[in-house]
């Protein structure tokens, strides 16, 4: 039996390497396309049947306003009337600010809490509690506290993204193998040398896990935050505005943008993670 299967795999493997890329990956490429197409067709038929007011996917093209937005993402007529690229960029800018703050605060507080078990005991319940508060619940608090839309939006991003980073970093520090700590003890490394040479590199995989979870959450949070904050450029408010004016197919287009950007952000962090931590 065993020899037979070995033979089979060998005969399949050999021509595989010589075949072009698309031949060898037919299933990987074809099946997702078929699945997506099927979903879109069902959706289109469902809309056409008149059971719902939701327009079908073809409306992205058939609706004139939406077609304009689709074709010209870079237009800028001033005020809130901007192409989807600019809308998205504005949202991304907020995410970048809030997320960077979250990363800096989350990693440093995480290291502090992770390496001091008294601090950990003192604050862990609080962190676990705050972590469970939904991004949207922070919006009114942020607006009251900061008075303005822009900083409030950034704060919501920050407060959403900081917990996974902080908690994962702290866990990473706690999980540093005793072996590495023993090396540091034997060499009598200074605190600074210990942080640079041992603690930070050892906790890095955990930190990246936190960063990757946080980027997804941050992107989720910005949409929610912008929907509530009227009168700003940003893809979240764009959706809300379109809804108010009953441009449903525009919402669908914006949702596609949001999904694509979220996916890109996640993959981007994963890519950086691979660059820095080849093993992870």
């Amino acid at each position: 039996m065993v020899t037979q299967t070995e033979k089979q795999t060998r005969t399949v493997k050999l021509p595989r390497t010589s075949k072009p890329f698309w031949n060898s990956r037919t299933q990987d490429i074809l099946l997702p396309i078929l699945g997506t197409l099927g979903f879109l067709i069902v959706w289109q038929l469902f809309s056409a049947s008149g059971l719902t007011r939701l327009p079908g996917p073809l409306s992205l093209w058939t609706d004139t306003r939406t077609r304009q937005l689709l074709m010209y993402p870079f237009y800028d007529l001033g005020g809130l009337d901007k192409g989807l690229f600019w809308q998205t960029l504005a949202s991304l800018g907020r995410v970048a600010q809030g997320y960077s703050m979250a990363a800096v605060v989350g990693i440093s507080v995480g290291i502090l809490v992770g390496s001091n078990h008294l601090l950990n005991k003192a604050f862990d319940p609080l962190f676990q509690f705050l972590r469970m508060v939904a991004p949207l619940a922070w919006v009114p608090i942020a607006l009251v506290a900061l008075q303005q839309n822009q900083p409030a939006a950034i704060f919501v991003i920050f407060i959403t993204a900081v917990w996974p980073i902080l908690i994962n970093t702290a866990e990473g520090v706690r999980q540093i193998p005793t072996d590495f700590q023993n090396v540091a003890k034997v060499l009598q490394l200074s605190r600074k040398d210990y942080y640079i040479n041992i603690l930070f590199p050892a906790a890095l995989p955990y930190i990246f896990t936190g960063l990757r979870i946080a980027i997804g959450l941050a992107w989720l949070a910005i949409i929610a935050a912008e929907i509530v904050m009227s009168g700003i450029v940003g893809i979240g408010f764009f959706i809300w505005d379109a809804y108010q004016q009953n441009y449903i197919s525009e919402i669908i287009l914006a949702v596609i943008y949001i999904g694509a950007v979220g996916l890109l952000l996640d993959r981007g962090i994963a890519y950086i993670q691979r660059l820095i931590l080849p093993k992870a």
């Binding site: 072996d179 009598q188 040398d193 093993k279």
Partner: protein
């Protein structure tokens, strides 16, 4: 601290280590450890897992502090880890985000701060070359094999020039080939750089190859140092050559014996219960030690035929030991209640033959007589050596060759008979031959391998050698001392006093077993029982109670008669003071023990005739209490119990005789 010698680097003094358990209890890992490590010395710590050897290493490293006692290095107390006590960890502990070079660099740059960057770099590069990792210097550890990783760890440790190198099972996770190569590399580096090192290991050969001293730890809880072996093998050592050194195997068997003994003690401890009193006996649960020989028949029969139980000893467990040393340690350590002993052992232990610590042991029963013989390598037969005179001529003609004979214990009749026999022909056994101690079961293999030229041992090993054509019997005890005591029953004196009724019951049960063994009708049954894997584990062909078939004696000239065992009979079982005195004189004659000035007291304490007589009377065997008279040996010398000192003085061939008063503690009952 006063006795701290100048070249002692590390001192571990009266160290205890206890751990608090989750349930609030305390686990005492180490108790009363004393150890000094000299400058330039390589010391191995060996023991079973859980014996606390890594805990001890951790305390020397400074990772943990002793609960009591002091660890000091160069006179200063060790309170924290430091680079002068660098550790090579079992799992390498290389930082995975750094290359080989960076790992070594980190240590060098952070520890040797007084050096210039250039000098630091030189040291790093030198040590990369030292362990032969130039080609992998820029690779991260995950791309290295286990052996290469350990080399990096060793290079990192050596690069910072520690005063003491600590190795925690450094090669444990490596395959045999890599391990061997690394051991040699490490040894070379240590020898060239005069490194002082402490290594934890569980590999006996590794310990012997590398160490100057091997420290053996007893099993936990409360482990301590059981024994320290000085490994006096010449350096530089090579792995393949060292095994051929004449002392290598005795070192090796010393450690293995220790480790096996620890394992046995652990098992016995696990089984050990407090004394169960029943049927008017103080203790019915007995652990009785024996060595698998034809002579163990009475013990085996008493167990198998229910004679122990018949006398109320319901829970007797026979403990098989491979060597008499196991018996000796088991009795001394209190793991065994009683044991079959070579006839000289009670006196030998009582006068302090064991580590110079007198331990009163009593004997109330002689289990067997005869059953021993002297076997020589078949080559001697081919050269026409048939009688003692031939052997003497041969030994005198070949003084350049070291002739080695095997015996089973310094206190065994075999040793004393062989020496007596050789000396009677004018051969000084201490000068003209080497007599080494081997477990009975290893005699044949050693004879076949040419490690020994002959041996004196109990059956079945003489018959076996003859039947296999490996050796031949040149003399049996019938020709040296017909009816000499072979094995006796021995118990500690304090045990006998604590459990007097049990002791009588034990003697009675064994006496009945002896009678059963002597009955010719039972021979085949006994042979079959003895041959079982639980006991001798030998083919029934080799085990004989009566005269064996002719085929054992086809080597000519065959001995006068087969030395079959006497288990029972008039004067066979009664312990004899004269015999014990003869044994005492012989052991003193060859320098094993000093001759005690208080020999009369010692004989009184060892030889429990009254207990035997009581047992015999109660069994209704008055006929066997007959007392033997003076001893007649083959050379015509008569030995009486009147004047042993004159006897010793009149001997021609002997070791220097030392006389000493042996202080014995007053007899006190103590539960074993």
């Amino acid at each position: 601290m006063n006795d701290l010698v100048a070249n002692d680097l590390v001192a571990v003094e009266q160290v205890d280590k206890a751990f608090t358990l989750a349930n609030g209890g305390e686990y005492i890992a180490l108790a009363g450890i004393n150890l000094t490590i000299k400058q330039g010395e390589f010391v191995s710590l060996i023991g079973h897992s859980g014996c606390g050897k890594s805990t001890l290493l951790d305390m020397i490293a400074g990772f943990s502090q002793p609960t009591a006692g002091l660890v000091s290095m160069e006179g200063k107390q060790v309170t924290e880890p430091g680079p002068n006590r660098m550790v090579v960890f079992q799992n390498y502990s290389l930082l995975p985000w750094m290359t080989v070079r960076q790992n070594i660099e980190l240590a060098v740059k952070k520890v040797m701060i007084e050096l210039s960057p250039v000098e630091q770099q030189q040291i790093v590069e030198h040590h990369i070359d030292l362990v032969g990792l130039r080609h992998a210097a820029d690779k991260p550890p995950e791309q290295l094999s286990g052996g290469m990783k350990q080399r990096v760890a060793i290079a990192r440790a050596l690069a910072i020039r520690p005063k003491l190198l600590l190795l925690d099972e450094p090669f444990g996770a490596l395959d045999a080939l890599t391990r061997g190569n690394l051991q040699e590399q490490l040894m070379k580096i240590c020898e060239e750089n005069q490194v002082t090192a402490v290594m934890v290991t569980h590999d006996v050969d590794e310990a012997l190859l590398l160490s100057d001293r091997v420290v053996m730890l007893t099993n936990g809880p409360s482990s301590n140092i059981g024994q320290i072996l000085e490994v006096d093998l010449p350096r530089p050592r090579r792995r393949m050559e060292i095994v051929n050194h004449p002392n290598y195997y005795s070192y090796r068997s010393e450690i293995i014996y220790f480790l096996n003994q620890q394992k046995r003690i652990k098992q016995l401890r696990a089984r050990k219960q407090s004394a169960i009193a029943r049927h008017g006996l103080e203790k019915v649960n007995l652990e009785i030690g024996y060595v698998p020989l034809t002579a163990c028949a009475p013990l085996v029969i008493a167990k198998e035929k229910g004679l122990f139980a018949h006398h109320g000893l319901d829970e007797v467990n026979l403990v098989r030991e491979t060597s008499w040393r196991g018996i000796q340690d088991g009795i001394a350590g209190g793991h065994l209640d009683a044991a079959q002993m070579p006839s000289g052992m009670p006196v030998w232990m009582t006068v302090g033959g064991m580590d110079n610590k007198p331990l009163p042991v009593v004997s109330a029963l002689t289990l067997t007589r005869n059953g021993n013989a002297i076997t020589l390598d078949k080559q001697f037969n081919d050269q026409g050596i048939f009688v003692l005179e031939d052997l003497k001529k041969f030994l005198l003609e070949t003084p350049e060759k070291q002739h080695t004979f095997g015996v089973v214990h310094p206190a065994s009749m075999h040793n004393l008979l062989l020496r007596y026999w050789l000396a009677s022909a004018g051969i000084n056994p201490n000068q003209d031959t080497t007599i080494s101690t081997l477990p009975p079961a290893q005699m044949l293999a050693n004879l076949q391998a040419g490690n020994i030229d002959g041996y004196c041992v109990g059956e079945p090993w003489n018959t076996w050698a003859a039947m296999e054509g490996i050796g031949y019997t040149i003399a049996t005890d019938l020709e040296i001392w017909n009816g000499h005591p072979g094995k006796v029953l021995g118990v500690r004196e304090d045990w006998s006093l604590a459990y007097p009724n049990t002791h009588v019951a034990l003697v009675k049960a064994l006496l009945e077993a002896c009678r059963y063994c002597m009955d010719g009708n039972n021979r085949d049954e006994i042979r079959e029982i003895l041959s079982r894997a639980d006991y001798l584990g030998a083919d029934v062909e080799y085990i004989h109670l009566g005269d064996p078939d002719a085929n054992t004696c086809d080597l000519q000239p065959s001995p006068a008669a087969y030395a079959h065992h006497q288990f029972f009979g008039s004067g066979v079982n009664r312990p004899s003071r004269t015999e014990h005195l003869w044994l005492m004189t012989q052991m003193a004659r060859w320098g094993d023990i000093p001759f005690p000035r208080n020999w009369v007291e010692i004989l009184e304490r060892v030889c429990k005739v009254s207990l035997f007589s009581l047992a015999a009377r109660e069994l209704g065997m008055p006929e066997i209490t007959y007392s033997r008279g003076p001893i007649q040996l083959f050379d015509g010398v008569t030995f009486t119990a009147d004047d042993p000192i004159t006897y010793l003085n009149n001997l021609e061939i002997k070791h220097d005789i030392y006389m000493a008063e042996i202080p014995l503690t007053a007899p006190v009952a103590r539960a074993a």
